[in-house]
Symmetry: C2
Subunit: 337 residues, 2 copies
């Protein structure tokens, strides 16, 4: 079996590739498991060294839209496509055309490529919790269900929601076997801060653990919905293995999220790395960031995901201990317990 991952050198794409290669086989869409022969990683940047060293990995470097236009993707030879590549929310707000091109046009071109390939591959589309947004004209309900109407409050959310619609219709027409999954905010992301408003939800843990100061721009009582990297990848893979009957409706599945508060996250950090760690957090409110963060939903009833056997992370402390174990080189403080 051959697999293609767009955004395959990114943090989630690379983790997905590693997980798939480690398990060695995949039971696609309810079919018996087949060995994984090749994983094509499409990205602008080269894959991490460990993936590049795996003989089953085939990197395809370049802009996704340009590669699709050139017919450079081996879509006729892949049984599963994981479409993770996207311009992120901040970029899309700053550059409307970039977002339309990277998120709407590239998704449509990729679906068209699969349609032309003619064998209806499994197509997992990574949508986002950003399809939901609270506004004064249209309040979000307290608890988000799979049937809650998305009301995106930014271009990124609109583009992801349009992508879901395209995947649904290409699936209905038999061009792909689509699986729309909405990813929650991933924490703790390793690496460095990025331009996303949610960046501090990793930074306020990651930087103190590395002995560096970090800023928390929202009040401790701010509620957030999070998923660990491992749990997020588990949800993405489960989307690919579900039969169409198990999957059910062509609308998107909200992946489970742990509802916690920023204050509880800091408490978990203190239990893991002591007051030395939390002393490195600067609580400096930023009205702009707080407005965005509090417009996101924090409570979900992810019935369809639960029926697929998926569950939220058990606690933020467990998420944090996973991060410490998986990223020893990034942890400078002594860890307790």
């Amino acid at each position: 079996m051959n697999i293609l991952i767009t955004g395959g050198s990114g943090f989630l794409g690379a983790r997905l590739a590693r997980t798939l290669l480690a398990q060695g086989s995949l039971a696609l869409a309810g079919a018996p498991a087949q060995p994984i022969q090749r994983v094509v990683l499409v990205d602008r940047v080269a894959p991490p060294a460990d993936l590049a060293a795996d003989a089953r990995v085939q990197p395809l470097l370049g802009d996704l839209g340009e590669q699709l236009a050139a017919g450079a993707l081996p879509l006729a030879d892949v049984q599963a496509v994981f479409h993770l590549a996207a311009a992120v929310s901040g970029e899309c707000e700053a550059d409307f055309d970039l977002g339309m091109r990277s998120n709407l046009d590239a998704t449509r071109q990729l679906l068209e490529g699969c349609r032309r390939a003619g064998h209806a591959p499994v197509f997992v589309f990574s949508s986002s919790v950003a399809v939901f947004g609270d506004s004064p004209e249209q309040r979000l309900p307290e608890v988000i269900e799979d049937t809650t109407l998305p009301t995106p409050q930014n271009s990124y959310g609109i583009q992801k929601f349009i992508g879901e619609q395209l995947v649904a219709d290409y699936t209905r027409k038999g061009f792909v076997q689509g699986r729309n999954v909405r990813l929650m905010t991933v924490s703790v992301r390793p690496g460095r801060p990025n331009g996303a408003a949610s960046s501090f939800l990793s930074g306020m843990l990651r930087e103190p653990l590395a002995g560096e100061r970090a800023r928390c721009p929202v009040a401790p009582e701010t509620a957030v919905a999070l998923s660990s990297p491992g749990n997020t990848v588990r949800g993405i893979i489960r989307a690919s293995t579900a039969s169409s009957t198990e999957w059910g409706a062509r609308t998107a599945v909200n992946l489970p999220a742990l509802t916690t508060t920023v204050g509880e996250m800091a408490q978990a950090l203190e239990r893991v790395a002591g007051k030395e760690a939390t002393a490195l957090i600067d609580w400096e409110p930023d009205a702009q960031i707080a407005k965005i963060i509090t417009s996101w939903p924090s409570r979900f009833q992810p019935k369809r995901a639960q029926a697929l056997g998926l569950a939220a992370d058990e606690s933020f402390e467990a998420i944090l201990r996973d991060y410490v174990r998986e990223n020893p080189q990034a942890v400078k403080l002594a860890v307790k317990g």
Copy 2:
């Protein structure tokens, strides 16, 4: 004030143009009424003679997408755009690419044209009740509200729903002042049958009134949600006059619909034109058409439309008497009462 109507020579477009020209002025988006100087009718076919004879009418003949690509639309000079042009449901199912081009690409190009024009015109987008569809995997609720999640069951419905999302984001960005309105099934449409599954919902009245036989492919107890042509145009115009505060959320407004049954429609026909008329209806079930028609919702709670002062037609008999009055040349049977 200059106005542009796409699909302006079509049945609804021409009726909208006539209504606007007859009222002579328009109070756009809550602003004071301004006289209407020009109405540009963009369509593949020439406008009806009465409109062509009006000095304020400027026909623009050709394919909408091609005209947009050529920059032929006077978007810099129009204060309101009514976007009614679309490939219909049957065409879009038969020819996927035609639907994507006519409904998705042309809508996006039109929005881009407005954005480039730079003065954020009012942009009324005619979406459709076809965004809603019942499926075994995802049942529609008994009553559709403005916040019900659309689950389109055909490409036309998907394309209309994507159009709503684009209009919402172009509005949020300040490129247009968008108003998404979902039109209900329009009955009684004058003219001839078309390829739509709903065609009989006009034909089963129109043809008997003209002394011709008509086929009804569904059972009398089949519930449907209808709006007269006049009431539909009233909803479209109200969308353009609502201030952004009155309009509220950027999601679509469901226009009010009269819930009736096909049997009640036949009874109304009998009251208007006697047993002579209903004897011309052939009740010949068609499983294919029945499946489509019964997948559509028939009950709505159109709160936002009601808050804008809009209401459903009072009865199907009233709709029918309007049709008879407005289309005397098409009525051959004697009318009672």
